[in-house]
């Protein structure tokens, strides 16, 4: 282990293995259920009889006809963002405030390593860990689709995973920022959980509740419209929002982190 980046990856090896396997299995399960959900007469009549609010929660029935749009609505739309939020809170919280709480940040700082290097290498390791878990998600999707004999458009899957990675990195950067600014693990976890929970509520219910539509813009999940991406609509502004969240989080937190007192 020559540097903090490799050491972090090594430290988190079981975390990476667990989350990658979990993502793969989850994706595999969702794909395996596709034939069951594929619209037939019974499902269509059940859906038609549901209240509008419930229909909004389930999604567009037309999306269930193709594997890519089904996955966009049922896997990528809300479930995966919530899944990765939990992962981001645990990962970024432990790498920042968690290590500081244990006194490990002080141990690292006692070595001839600058705070910018500590910060950058830990963040980079978190990004790589996110990317590795998404490889699990992609693998699970392909294994599932091979098993049920369905095909999925490579381009759509990659675009969905690309924006999901950007959402993950944005969320990780946000939690990373809170952790490096505050140095307090429970505070970091608490704020991260609030951001994820509020975003979940806003984005889920804004489909059915008109007055929530304005507030939905403040949800971090709002800019990951998976069903629209699967239908071929890609908005550059969504990618730009996450890029701005990443840049602002990293800039502000680094400027504070390099100057502040470390907990001992």
């Amino acid at each position: 282990m020559r540097n903090i980046f490799l050491k972090t990856i090594y430290d988190k090896r079981w975390f990476i293995l667990g989350w990658t396997a979990g993502m793969a299995f989850f994706a595999y399960l969702m794909v395996a259920f596709f034939p069951t959900f594929k619209p037939n007469g019974l499902v269509q009549s059940m859906f038609a009889n549901m209240p509008k609010e419930l229909q909004g929660l389930i999604g567009n029935l037309q999306d269930m006809t193709k594997l890519s749009t089904y996955l966009a609505g049922q896997l990528f739309n809300i479930r995966m963002p919530m899944f990765i939020s939990v992962m981001a809170i645990i990962l970024a919280g432990s790498l920042t405030a968690g290590e500081e709480d244990k006194g490990l940040l002080r141990t690292l700082s006692a070595l001839p390593v600058s705070r910018v290097k500590i910060y950058a290498e830990k963040w980079l390791a978190a990004v790589v860990i996110c990317a590795i878990t998404l490889v699990g998600l992609i693998a699970g999707t392909y294994i599932g689709s091979w098993q049920i004999g369905e095909s999925i458009e490579f381009g759509t899957l990659m675009t969905l995973n690309g924006l999901l990675l950007l959402l993950m990195v944005a969320f990780v950067s946000l939690i990373f920022a809170i952790g490096t600014i505050s140095g307090k693990r429970s505070f970091t976890t608490g704020i991260g959980t609030i951001v994820a929970a509020v975003s979940f509520v806003l984005t889920t219910f804004a489909v059915s509740v008109d007055w929530l539509k304005f507030w939905d813009k403040f949800s971090i999940f709002h800019y990951f419209p998976a069903p629209d991406i699967a239908r071929g609509t890609i908005k550059v502004s969504d990618w730009a929002v996450y890029a701005v969240v990443i840049v602002v989080s990293l800039t502000v937190s680094y400027l504070i982190f390099r100057r502040r007192d470390l907990k001992g």
């Binding site: 020559r2 244990k102 490990l104 006692a110 390099r258």
Partner: protein, 301 residues
């Protein structure tokens, strides 16, 4: 280039309304081994944290090798500084060997010979994960990491806590050997005998302020007994009694002094006291001498 390795000038650190250290100043020259002594909460660790750039001073300045220290640039000096503390957190998922290798890489040192020498001295269990090691073994790993890159300055905060007496002895031998190599050492310690044993100077801190800075040999104990006597009557004089102190207590007057005469004379003197309430005779230890010094000196004196 001066021969001052570490200069602390009017260092003050406040945490909210609490002033942890105030106007702390001292200089350490090349090759000195300086003991930093004070009670818990006196400001030792805060001073050390500021010296290493873990915290930003509220006021004052710190220079190491003529370079000012701030949290932003402290890492530059760390190339020539080793650090270990008694409660040092180490990466529990790594083995001792992995941690030392990782730390050695950060110093950009490829030669393992010094590391191997230190492993030979402390004989830690490097194959086990640090999380599975005893406190003493973890402390050995931390001490090896502090010295393995042949630093010019070593800062130690309660370094030998957790070490068994044999390892404590080896640690003191290492400090002496490092001093001969010209390494400058700044160490805080609870074990005062250890400080007097290896340090050339002692800096005493009390309530966040330096109260005394003196050569360690001034504190060396020339034997003698610490005697305490409580009596309701005036006591006769005793030849060989030094540093006599009187204190009124509920049971009478407590007289304490260091006795350097013969045991027979002391025995005879004690026997001659008519209304003796209580007495004690103990070896005059370093701890007692420092305690005495600590009580005498106050930041306002």
């Amino acid at each position: 280039m001066t021969n001052i390795v570490l200069e602390v000038e009017n260092l003050t650190k406040r945490f909210g309304n609490n002033t942890a250290i105030r106007d702390v100043s001292f200089k350490i020259k090349t090759g000195e081994v300086v003991g930093f002594v004070g009670l818990n909460g006196a400001g030792k660790s805060t001073t050390i944290n500021a010296i290493l750039g873990f915290i930003r001073p509220t006021d004052g300045k710190i220079e190491i090798f003529d370079q000012p220290v701030t949290p932003e640039n402290a890492f530059r000096g760390h190339q020539s500084i080793g650090f270990a503390s008694g409660d040092m957190a180490l990466f529990e998922s790594l083995t001792g060997e992995q941690y030392l290798q990782f730390a050695l890489h950060q110093y950009k040192v490829r030669d393992r010979s010094r590391l191997n020498e230190l492993i030979e001295i402390f004989k830690p269990d490097l194959a086990k994960k640090i999380g599975e090691l005893s406190r003493g073994n973890r402390q050995k790993v931390a001490l090896i990491a502090a010295f393995m890159a042949s630093p010019k300055l070593v800062v130690l905060d309660e370094p030998s806590s957790g070490l068994d007496p044999l390892m404590q002895q080896r640690f003191l031998e290492l400090i002496r050997a490092e001093q001969e190599r010209g390494t400058t050492i700044f160490m805080s310690s609870h074990y005062l005998n250890e400080v007097v044993d290896v340090c050339t100077r002692i800096v005493l801190i009390r309530s966040g302020q330096i109260v005394r800075d003196f050569p360690a040999k001034e504190l060396s104990i020339n034997g003698g007994k610490a005697v305490k006597v409580v009596s309701r009557h005036k006591l006769p004089g005793l030849k060989g009694a030094e540093d006599v102190k009187l204190e009124k207590t509920a049971n009478g007057t407590e007289v304490s002094f260091i006795y350097k005469g013969t045991p027979t004379a002391l025995q005879a003197w004690l026997g001659s006291l008519p209304h003796l309430v209580d007495f004690s005779v103990n070896d005059n230890t370093v701890e007692m001498a420092l305690e005495d010094l600590y009580e005498k000196e106050s930041p306002d004196a």
